[in-house]
């Protein structure tokens, strides 16, 4: 059903009068002016037109849509968490203590020697990690110009490398869906600043040759970077640091269950080996004899966030890890992998690669994967990630996470199978049972209307 725009419910234009000279101020301001009850109804209705983790299964591959424990929200809402970043360290021992503990937890979980919490998102973590690699090479007087990235990697990897000024060398997969070590050998050179990898990769496959890969990268003086998007497969089973990775980022909004918030905020802490610790961003939290303090690492890359990162998100991640502990974390990965494998058994679509871990990529085959996904919406579930990675034709990239029960997985499989069994006409016209029908993306892009003012102009 349709909910009018706030502006359609009533706006008001006020003349702006002030004690300031007129030439310093604007003349007027027009904005919606809903009463609080109207406001509450507006956003309540909007929320009802939105699908979240508590609406049903949300098996978006590589997104790790877990349940977000409510008590972490309560902690984030505490008055003593609401402090200004420019306070003295003496007066913020609680915040610094929690950040230090989280650094330690993440270091242990990833097998890394030092962790910065400053990057405010996974992509920001990648940027930070690549800047660290760059600083390392520069400190060594080493001019390097290339970052190697498997073609099945997350788009952020490519964009990040470019943002840091590197040329991107794209690496094909082998027939088994993993890194082609021969192609890697060919790509590596003294120009190689880093290889960015996800493990398990976006097909859910563990890179079994990871130690050999690490050795190859290190042999040419490169840095091995771990994209933490798929860390939920490995908690307590394997650690990037132990595999030879030098730098990694963590997506706390994936692995550590902080809410995705409709796209964010997340947080993308970065872990490094001892050798790279000196390059971490400024400031960095460390323990002292009497408490905690911040300092600037010796060869710090500087700042990647205006302050210290997405604090309240980090706080929630801390609370989640505190709650689960070793046993809970290990079980989370075990059940995530169990769920992916069980779900895969129940669905009719072909799954070309395996053995996979916490996610798998099915192929919609003759169907358009995007259409198949729209059809799944009609069964009250959220569809998987579609059309990516491209190594699987018409990919349906599926990650149920550990939070789904067998019963829910069966329902989800039924939705997959109903889509699979649907004819072309049906899926092309799906969905039919959602708040909105299929939305025209082309006209949105061809004629961008990005504000209600643009809509008004049109009329």
């Amino acid at each position: 059903r349709y909910e009018p725009l706030l502006s359609e419910k009533g706006s008001e234009t006020v003349e702006v009068d002030s004690e300031l000279p007129d030439d310093l101020t604007r003349d007027s301001l027009e904005l919606p002016n809903p009463s609080e009850p109207e406001l509450a109804r507006h956003y309540t209705r909007l929320s009802e037109m939105n699908y979240g983790v508590e609406s049903g299964p949300f098996p978006l591959g590589s997104c790790t849509m877990k349940y977000n424990p409510k008590f972490t929200e309560d902690l984030a809402a505490r008055a003593d968490a609401s402090i200004h970043p420019d306070r003295s360290e003496r007066s913020t021992q609680g915040t610094l203590g929690l950040l230090y503990e989280l650094q330690t937890y993440l270091g242990d979980i990833g097998g890394m020697d030092a962790v910065t919490l400053q990057p405010p998102a996974g992509a920001a973590g990648e940027f930070t990690g690549i800047l660290v690699a760059k600083a390392y090479h520069e400190t060594n007087g080493d001019e390097r110009s290339e970052v190697i990235i498997p073609e099945s990697a997350h788009g952020t990897n490519f964009a990040t490398a470019a943002m840091a000024g590197y040329d991107v060398v794209s690496l094909p997969s082998n027939e088994a869906g993993r890194v082609d070590t021969e192609a890697l050998e060919a790509a590596l050179s003294e120009k190689t600043a880093a290889l960015m990898l996800t493990n398990p990769n976006t097909l859910g496959l563990f890179e079994r040759d990871i130690e050999e890969i690490a050795e190859m990268v290190h042999d040419v003086g490169g840095i091995l970077y771990y994209d933490g998007a798929n860390l939920n497969a490995l908690l307590g089973r394997a650690r990037p640091g132990d595999m030879g990775f030098d730098v990694m980022h963590y997506n706390v909004h994936k692995t550590f269950a902080t809410p995705h918030g409709g796209g964010g905020p997340g947080a993308g802490p970065v872990g490094v080996t001892e050798e790279l610790r000196e390059f971490l961003p400024d400031p960095h939290v460390r323990a002292t004899d009497t408490g905690y303090e911040t300092h600037t690492p010796d060869n710090s890359i500087g700042k990647v966030h205006g302050y210290d990162g997405n604090w309240l998100v980090l706080l929630k991640a801390h609370a989640y890890i505190t709650r689960l502990g070793d046993a809970g974390l290990a079980d989370a990965s075990a059940k995530a992998v169990l769920n992916a494998n069980y779900l895969a058994e129940q669905i009719d679509y072909e799954i070309p690669f395996g053995p996979f871990h916490h996610e798998f990529v099915a192929s919609a085959g003759e169907q358009d994967a995007a259409d198949a996904a729209k059809r799944m919406l009609d069964f009250g579930v959220h569809p998987p990630t579609t059309k990516w990675p491209e190594i699987v034709p018409e990919a349906l990239m599926t990650e149920p996470t550990e939070i789904e029960s067998k019963r829910t997985l069966d329902q989800l499989a039924a939705a997959f199978n109903a889509a699979s069994a649907s004819d072309t006409d049906t899926i092309e016209h799906a969905p039919s049972r959602t708040a909105a029908g299929r939305i025209d993306q082309t006209s949105a892009a061809r004629n961008p209307r990005l504000s209600w003012q643009a809509l008004d102009d049109e009329e």
Binding site: E12, E73, D80, A81, H84, G97, A123, T156, G328, S443
Partner: protein, 442 residues
């Protein structure tokens, strides 16, 4: 406790699922070489929800209970309770980026409304909700300038007083580009327009100014800065915040091409620097192709009803990869939702009133401090917004420490300069604060 409290599996369900897969243990599902298996411990004990909550709260309680008179880019305004309650609805906070718009109309519309509010506040045509904070938004503005074909220069000019966090991030954002960052001088807090005129030329890619400035002063004659940038084919990027936008000169009217700054001054309150970067820009074709971040556009669904969707996605990393306009993926959507709710809750009247109060409070508080022996305030002979710098006869660091002992936090921004920010969040403590200052400045 032997498992994740959020995994629903009973023992018999686990068994049934393993059977269906055809393996006899969860262990058997992990295709990990022995040599890289981890069999150590993190040493973190699992806790009940109650115990976990108590543990975190207990550490948090080590933060002192101070009344903060702090600003400099991160502000504490009172967030109406309704914002918390509505933004915390699980359909919003637990949802993902809107890749399936048919089941995400609610969030898309809310972001479209946020964009529209920014359009009204800035006078520009395009706004997004993707920037992490003011600093990264500034960094993105600079790299946007580099991508624009209409701009040929490489020098980014920023004020000498630029906040250290913003400057640091900017330096990193341009590190992979051909851009260089230079400062231009300020005069009594504001842009030294004469000096700036000397510096701007055809090699200039971007001129950045702030209003209000980091020291709380309100700029005068920004239109001449806009003209200057325009004349030399440089991007004029203006830094501000969402409250100030309600009162101060409309960025578009002074020639700003891009607006960045702090959006979370509304909607989030003090959050240790966690926030939302404003980002708005002109809407011409070239900018639309090059703008970073997620954009929501209006469209129609199969029944020709109005509907919303992410749009112009070919700019983004998940499609364009290394040629994307930014690497941004996870963004600040939920903070933008909160900011939009707060703006809507205030309405234009309430927002203008809040902005006017910000001028009044800074002026009145500076006046009260100026009456004290040992303090001169404000240092800058300017109009102020929300905050101001005061000169203290004693060393500023000592003053700040003494005030902290009395329960108040201020910035020490120079050897003998403190900075004081007043909002409705600390106004009720003003009498005590002024009394404390009068004690410690002697």
């Amino acid at each position: 406790m032997s498992g994740s409290p959020y995994a629903p599996h009973t023992a018999s369900e686990t068994t049934a699922m393993l059977d269906a897969i055809g393996v006899d243990s969860e262990e058997a599902l992990f295709d990990i070489p022995e040599s890289v298996r981890f069999d150590g411990e993190f040493g973190i004990d699992a806790k009940s929800e109650q115990a976990a909550r108590r543990a975190v709260a207990s550490t948090l309680a080590d933060n002192d209970d101070l009344t903060e008179f702090l600003g400099r880019g991160h502000y504490d305004h009172y967030v109406p309770s309704v914002v918390d309650h509505l933004a915390d609805r699980s359909e919003f906070i637990t949802s993902y980026t809107q890749y399936q718009p048919e089941v995400a109309q609610g969030f898309l519309q809310a972001l479209f409304e946020y964009q529209s509010m920014l359009v009204e506040l800035t006078g520009l045509e395009v706004a997004n909700c993707s920037m992490y904070d003011a600093a990264t938004a500034l960094g993105e503005a600079a790299t946007l300038a580099e991508r624009l074909r209409s701009i040929s220069g490489t020098r980014v000019l920023v004020p000498d007083l630029l906040h250290e966090g913003r400057r640091g991030v900017l330096d990193n954002y341009v590190a992979g580009s051909d851009l260089t960052v230079e400062t231009y001088p300020t005069a009594d807090g504001n842009v030294d327009r004469e000096a700036l005129t000397e510096q701007v030329d055809e090699t200039t890619a971007m001129v950045y100014a702030e209003n209000p400035t980091v020291r709380g002063t309100i700029e005068e004659g920004l239109d001449t800065v806009g003209d200057l940038a325009d004349e030399h084919d440089a991007l004029f990027t203006l830094g501000t915040d969402i409250v100030a936008l309600a009162l101060l000169e409309e960025p578009a009217s002074v020639g700003a091409d891009v607006v960045v700054g702090d959006g979370s001054a509304l909607g989030l309150g003090s959050a240790y620097g966690f926030g939302l970067g404003l980002f708005a820009c002109r809407g011409d074709r070239e900018l639309l192709r090059q703008v970073p971040g997620r954009l929501v556009g209006a469209s129609e669904d199969s029944d020709d009803r109005r509907a919303y969707t992410l749009t112009l996605q070919t700019r983004e990393q998940h499609i364009r990869r290394e040629r994307a306009t930014s690497n941004i993926c996870s963004n600040q959507a939920w903070v933008a939702l909160r900011t939009a709710m707060h703006v809507a809750s205030l309405g234009p009247d309430g927002l203008v009133e809040l902005a006017n109060d910000s001028v009044r409070r800074a002026r009145e508080t500076a006046g009260r401090l100026d009456e004290l022996t040992g303090v001169q305030a404000p240092v800058h002979d300017r109009h102020h917004f929300r905050e101001f710098v005061a000169r203290v006869d004693q060393p500023a660091e000592a003053i700040a420490a003494d005030l902290e002992a009395e329960g108040y936090a201020v910035h020490a921004v120079g050897d003998h300069e403190i900075q004081v920010c007043v909002t409705e969040a600390n106004e009720q403590a003003l009498d005590g604060f002024v009394a404390a200052v009068s004690e410690v400045v002697r």
